[in-house]
Amino acid sequence: MSKVVTLHTPAPDFSLDDHTGKQFRFSDYCGSKNVVLVFNRGFL
């Protein structure tokens, strides 16, 4: 059970294309809003 993300450390930045195909950069949100990152279990 490796815990890659540690409390009270900077969240790793990343960039992905969103569901509309637009580029999304995590750092665009970070620093201005709280962010709830949800890692889903797959669509049912």
Partner: protein, 133 residues
């Protein structure tokens, strides 16, 4: 994931954005988002680059990914991490919202110094205490 939509306005009120990351393809995401009319961004990660960096567990026996949630505050710091132990091990919206309320209060009260309040609350089960002199 769809449960989050029910309380989306409450998350907004806490100045929080929800981001959903998953291993499905861009077209599967587009279809699902279209069908369910989800108001927050969906981030397809078919190469698992972000999923791996954030340490989402994969249960090989159940052929599925364990759900995980991470809350990042306005300073870009990780303040809450929950790795599901089973497919249904997902914190309630209420629990997530109360953490956000705490973060916002702290953000208003302090000049940016983070308090150990949530660390203590959240990681008590993982903590190992050592006596140091």
């Amino acid at each position: 994931m769809a449960q989050l939509r029910l309380d989306y306005s409450k998350f907004k009120a806490e100045d929080a954005e929800i981001l959903v990351v998953g291993p499905e393809s861009a077209s599967q995401f587009a279809k699902y988002w279209d069908e369910n009319d989800l108001p927050y961004p969906g981030l397809p990660d078919p190469k698992h680059s972000v999923l791996k960096r954030y340490g989402q567990e994969v249960n090989l026996f159940k052929l599925g990914r364990m759900p995980a949630q991470v809350i990042v505050d306005k300073h870009g710091m990780v303040r809450y991490v929950h790795y599901g132990k089973s497919m249904s091990d997902i914190p309630s919206n209420k629990e997530l919202l109360s953490i956000l309320t705490g973060l916002n209060k702290e953000h208003r009260d302090s000049s940016g110094l983070s308090s150990p309040l949530h660390l203590d609350m959240i990681s008590k089960t993982e903590e190992t205490r050592e006596e140091a002199d």
